[in-house]
Symmetry: C2
Subunit: 336 residues, 2 copies
């Protein structure tokens, strides 16, 4: 597999991106990387690093997408951005997948525009993995489609389940619909209608799931619209940060606190590792004809490496083709 | 002020409810309590407790709402439930407000049906207080109105701001709209339209707020529809629980962990106090002609006491009247 990596995207680009590419080829025999971006900068960054030079190549891109520009304007004006060039490599078959820690709106727009949607898919979804008390779960959509129809949620369920089967190796993923009560009738207009559609599908549907239960690992795939998913994801990030900060405030006001904290430090480190974004790497953009993986802007080199692995697995298992098969296999039956 | 308290609602009723009533009259000179429910049980519960017998009275109700029954059926069939009788006391002027830790759907339906909406209000909202790194903030709606129009969100903003001014004493509450980005144009169809309406109002509107920022105390009032608000609230509860559980797992796997944990115990206790539902007491149902306060099913006697205080303040400041004034003062201007 050959994965294109946006060398210029993310808070610590290009250094961590280049480091991530090197880590990847040194760890995985079957993943080669194409670094996309400012060639001189990339060459300089690769410097004296040790790796098999045949397995990391460079494709020059003269422009960089700024995090604050509008996605539409960027797509129109920056024809030579590292994101457009990277997605273009997938389109032309020169790469099997694309990873970027840059502007997620531009990654999404470029992927949609150039790679097109999978056969049968109406709207794409960004899927993210989150830690549960036991294991982890996938939540989608977390921001690709903010205004959804019930059919979109059914398709998200099918896409998420397909991904979990093929990439995470979960045999019969439990799919749940994020709602305000476990009972079948609970929800808003959108989820009540989506409930019926998902229930009628061939998915392993476990019904509605409440916000308080998602972290208990009751479902492998949690489905919601992109507006709610994005808010849920960011509330989780914000709250985790807040809780650790509040605990630290309380600890530092104790006389025995510092010693206690010191003794507990390995525990807090392990906790952070379990909840660490780096471990999960990247969020796949599902429903696109190709592997397009969105990484967190704060990605470390390890997160980049994990995202490249996700892209390679995604491409190898041809997730996009299987998504079309799953959707065709679950088309709602038309009435007479 | 005379506040009716549902003696039968909540996981630990009637014991903690009765205890909460006693705590209240012993602490607040100006709050009398009417316990509503099974008279024999309540008399037994009051037993030898020390309090001014003139300030706690009992109104008998022969039925109890079960947590699992449908709100509509309960309202129709259980005419003598402690919730209906309690709300009836407010309606007839025999009480100034009502508190219940029982079935929130039934409390809401009975309040709407019997007390009616405030003048000018289209849909009610449940407002809850949540802890921030500094202070706390109000989020609404967290479950009363799951399918909203933009006008509903404007009214929620006005109701929340009015409550914060009158009950929490915040001079010019900062109001923000929960969305997926800080920029004005970010959001879904609903919030984008609501943004314009709130911006055109006389509120101290600070724009969109992202999920990760709500706990940073950037806004006093965070506005969203009842579906998202309920999910956000429950995710927060679930995640806080999960994080503490994960930390404990990590700590107990350490050799020095137990001593460290022991030394940090006061810090964890203080943290829990800061984030404790009991401190906040109850969530007011805004937009109803009267003070109707919904308490958590797990309420302790202290939470009940705090909820009774909220009801008394609410009634004393005539929040429901001021809500109508605020709405009339901010009617969107009609085009010519």
């Amino acid at each position: 597999m050959r994965i294109a990596l946006d060398a210029m995207g993310g808070d610590n680009a290009p250094a961590v991106n280049i480091e991530g590419a090197v880590l990847t080829v040194n760890e995985y025999r079957d993943i080669d990387v194409v670094l996309v971006g400012d060639e001189a900068l990339i060459r300089q960054g690769l410097g004296h690093k040790k790796y098999d030079a045949d397995r990391i190549s460079i494709t020059h891109a003269s422009q960089v997408v700024d995090m604050h520009e509008s996605a539409a304007a960027s797509i129109r004006k920056k024809r030579d951005s590292s994101i457009k060039i990277g997605v273009g490599l997938v389109k032309s078959g020169k790469a099997d997948g694309f990873v970027s820690a840059g502007h997620s709106g531009v990654i999404m727009a470029a992927s949609l525009l150039m790679l097109k949607k999978c056969r049968g898919v109406d709207r794409p979804a960004i899927a993210t993995l989150m830690p549960a008390i036991k294991g982890r779960f996938m939540m989608l959509d977390v921001g690709a489609t903010v205004d959804c129809k019930p059919e979109n949620l059914l398709q998200f369920a099918l896409m998420g389940s397909t991904y979990c089967k093929l990439v995470l190796g979960i045999t019969n993923p439990k799919v749940a619909l994020l709602s305000i009560g476990e009972e079948d009738i609970k929800g808003n207009e959108l989820t009540k209608e989506a409930f019926g559609l998902i229930k009628a599908s061939k998915l392993n549907f476990t019904g509605n799931i409440e916000g308080k239960d998602i972290f208990r690992g009751k479902a492998d795939v949690v489905v919601c619209d992109g507006f709610i998913g994005n808010i849920a994801l960011k509330i989780s990030e914000g709250l985790a940060e807040t809780i650790l900060k509040m605990l630290k405030q309380e600890i530092s006001s104790l006389s025995t606190g510092k010693i206690g904290y010191f003794m507990m430090k390995p525990a807090i480190k392990n906790f952070k590792k379990r909840t660490d974004y780096d471990e999960y790497g990247g969020a796949p953009l599902l429903g696109i004809n190709g592997a397009s993986i969105i990484s967190h802007g704060r990605s470390s080199s390890k997160a980049i490496k994990n995202a490249l692995k996700v892209a390679a697995d995604y491409a190898m298992r041809k997730v996009y083709e299987e998504i079309s098969v799953a959707i065709e296999d679950n088309l709602p039956k038309k009435g007479n």
